[in-house]
């Protein structure tokens, strides 16, 4: 039996195909203005990788902000539950999940059964989200993926005075104009990001083990700064792209709902 999880986020759309034992294929594409188009494209890509026909997918759960717009979904479940499901499947000792997506950040506490106990989300602005890093990378004229490596080469982080993404962008421009190295700016950006996320984590009661999911989990500089700030070792999801955790959780729910 093949099931699917489709996670339509603000920046990327993800699909995971699951056969009850393992992930058989996955895809990550940029989200489209019309969420349905993104969902179809991501599904097509995953199906092509797994060489399965879309008709063979028995059940699909949609998640993410666009979950109601997944045209082929049989059911929808919030990404908080899906990230919890996915992370617990990958790492059953996890009790706190930090999920940093494109436009929001969530901290989820879970119990020993892998069920959501409490959660907090950012609700003031885009500071502490993937969008913040994306904007800063654009100002530095580098690819988002390069930001982490560039930060690792920095040795004297700049300070971003404002939590606001727009004002922080103005700060970065000021530092560039002063001739500060991109590496030190990138390090400052990652530290600033970790600081914003740290505020949210501290609102929740952090329980070990802690893991990080979502696209920003791939930025090792931010993760390292977050570890320093929180004084905990953060489990890195290595066997699956951490950006797929929500879609994986959706696929696991789909498998359950399909009677698997």
């Amino acid at each position: 039996m093949i099931v699917a999880g489709c996670d339509i986020g603000s920046l990327t759309t993800k699909v995971v195909l699951f056969d009850g034992k393992k992930i058989i294929a996955s895809s990550i594409i940029k989200s489209k203005p019309k969420p349905e188009d993104g969902a179809y494209e991501a599904l097509q890509q995953a199906c092509a990788i797994a060489t399965v026909n879309q008709d063979n997918i028995v059940y699909c759960v949609g998640t993410g902000y666009g979950r109601k717009r997944v045209p082929f979904a049989n059911n929808t479940i919030s990404e908080i539950s899906c990230h919890t499901k996915g992370a617990f499947y990958l790492y059953p000792n996890v009790r706190t999940i930090i999920d940093i997506g494109g436009q929001d950040c969530k901290v989820i506490s879970l119990n020993t059964q892998g069920e959501v106990d409490r959660f907090v989300t950012n609700d003031k602005c885009a500071a502490g989200t993937g969008r913040f890093l994306e904007v800063m990378a654009k100002v530095l004229k580098i690819e988002l993926q390069e930001l982490s490596n560039m930060a690792k080469k920095g040795n004297e982080a700049i300070t971003l005075a404002s939590a606001c993404t727009v004002w922080a962008q103005a700060d970065v421009i000021k530092y560039l104009n002063e001739g500060i190295s991109k590496e030190n700016i990138a390090l400052g950006v990652c530290k600033s990001m970790a600081k914003r996320v740290g505020v949210l984590v501290n609102q929740a009661s952090i329980k070990r083990d802690v893991c990080i999911t979502g696209g920003v989990a791939k930025n090792t500089a931010v993760v390292k700064e977050l570890e320093n700030l929180l004084g905990v070792t953060i489990v890195k999801i290595t066997n699956v792209d951490p950006q797929l955790t929500g879609a994986l959780g959706a696929a696991l729910f789909a498998y359950q709902k399909a009677g698997g």
Partner: protein, 385 residues
């Protein structure tokens, strides 16, 4: 059955107000549930609870209030500045909170800055103490006298204690009807959606009360209700809300709001006014004591006890604590309530939101869905052998 209530609740002016105004009646708006409508009713004036619905821009209000303030009073001001409240003959501003108190100056300043005739003919600052003591009740009685003298003199009306006693008795009867309505959503399973109940409450604050009483009687005699089976039973707590769409967002298709402590909500229904007491003293006592609002100092334990009691009576499964951004009163108190309810094993969800059409519904929907999924797991855990 609820369409008419929705129409009235979701618009600023309505045909009922227009009709009585045509006949020469006066209509006075007020901003806070601590103002006793009975006084206006006794004078033959239509009380109107000012709403901030359907504002699409805060261009004027932002300039007057500044950015770091709750969007609810801003929406009220925007309506005033656009002339939407020109049907009001007066306004009573109460220091329910600092933001709402500031609407007094902001309306006047906007009138001057933009040279607009937005200050109603009668303008009264009605102060309400923040403590419940013997002397604060006495003080509030004096404030009620000051108000009666002021409004009577301004409009050339004659005030009568006999009329006030009749109005108090009328409002107690109205409270009884509202209590009957509330019983429908407390019922297990709920027989009325929270959004429908709130539409009735809000409509009641926006039209002549005698007419509303008649509509309530018809509703209660005709409405048999539909059992809302299997819905998660929620309680809603926090900042003022007259936005029925927000209640709908919270309820979705799988939940029902069976209790709330919201301003514009069923606050009017609770705590009857003592008809045997001296009328103004009875009103002062009731209005100072009745409310769930954190504007009152030193009343947290009593408010928490009321919430816990409401949870027990309505068999609430989870509590949604919402506050409008920059609402310090509810923002702070929601944190305490969340802490204490979770200790009692009652799941809570805290939401910070913007008021009205600026609300980020989808982000809120995601959090509410996740909370409802948490409640679903809890149900399943309870069923586990």
């Amino acid at each position: 059955m609820f369409e008419e209530f929705y129409t009235i609740a979701q618009s600023i002016n309505n045909e009922y107000i227009a009709k009585v105004k045509e006949q020469g009646a006066l209509c006075i708006g007020y901003t806070c549930s601590y103002f006793p409508e009975e006084i206006l009713h006794a004078l033959g004036i239509i009380p109107y609870r000012i709403k901030g619905l359907n504002v699409s821009s805060l261009s004027i209000a932002d300039a007057a209030f500044g950015p770091f303030i709750c969007s609810h009073p801003k929406c009220l001001l925007q309506h005033f500045a656009l002339g939407d409240y020109s049907f009001l003959d007066g306004i009573i501003v109460t220091p329910g909170c600092d933001s709402m108190r500031r609407i007094d100056e902001c309306i006047r300043k906007t009138a001057v800055n933009l040279d607009l005739p937005v200050v109603p003919p009668f303008f009264f600052h009605y102060a309400v103490p923040h403590k419940i003591t013997e002397y604060s009740v006495k003080w509030l009685v004096e404030e009620l006298h000051r108000f009666i003298d002021s409004v009577s003199a301004h409009f050339g009306l004659s005030f009568s204690y006999d009329k006030l006693k009749e109005s108090i008795a009328f409002y107690n009867r109205l409270r009884k009807r509202l209590e009957e309505l509330n019983a429908l959503r407390i019922h297990y399973p709920a027989r009325i959606a929270g959004a429908d109940a709130v539409a009735v409450y809000v409509a009641g604050l926006s039209m002549p009360r005698d007419r509303f009483y008649g509509m309530m009687e018809s509703l209660l005699s005709e409405y048999t209700g539909t059992a809302l089976e299997d819905r998660k039973r929620l309680m809603l707590i926090g900042s003022a809300n007259d936005d029925i769409d927000f209640i709908k967002t919270v309820e979705g298709e799988t939940a029902v709001v069976v209790a709330d402590t919201l301003c514009y909500g069923p606050r009017l229904e609770v705590d009857y006014v003592d008809e045997e007491d001296e009328p103004l003293h009875a009103l002062a006592l009731r209005y100072l004591n009745h409310s769930h609002c954190p504007r009152m100092y030193g009343g947290y334990k009593q408010r928490l006890a009321k919430v816990v009691e409401a949870i027990r009576i309505a068999q609430v499964e989870g509590v949604v604590l919402q506050n409008i951004r920059f609402c310090d009163l509810h923002g702070a108190e929601n944190g305490l309530i969340e802490r204490d309810l979770e200790k009692l094993g009652i799941p809570c969800l805290r939401l910070e939101r913007e008021y009205g059409p600026l609300a980020d519904n989808e982000r809120m929907r995601m959090r509410i869905d996740a909370f409802l999924e948490r409640l679903e797991v809890r149900r399943l855990v309870c069923e586990r052998p």
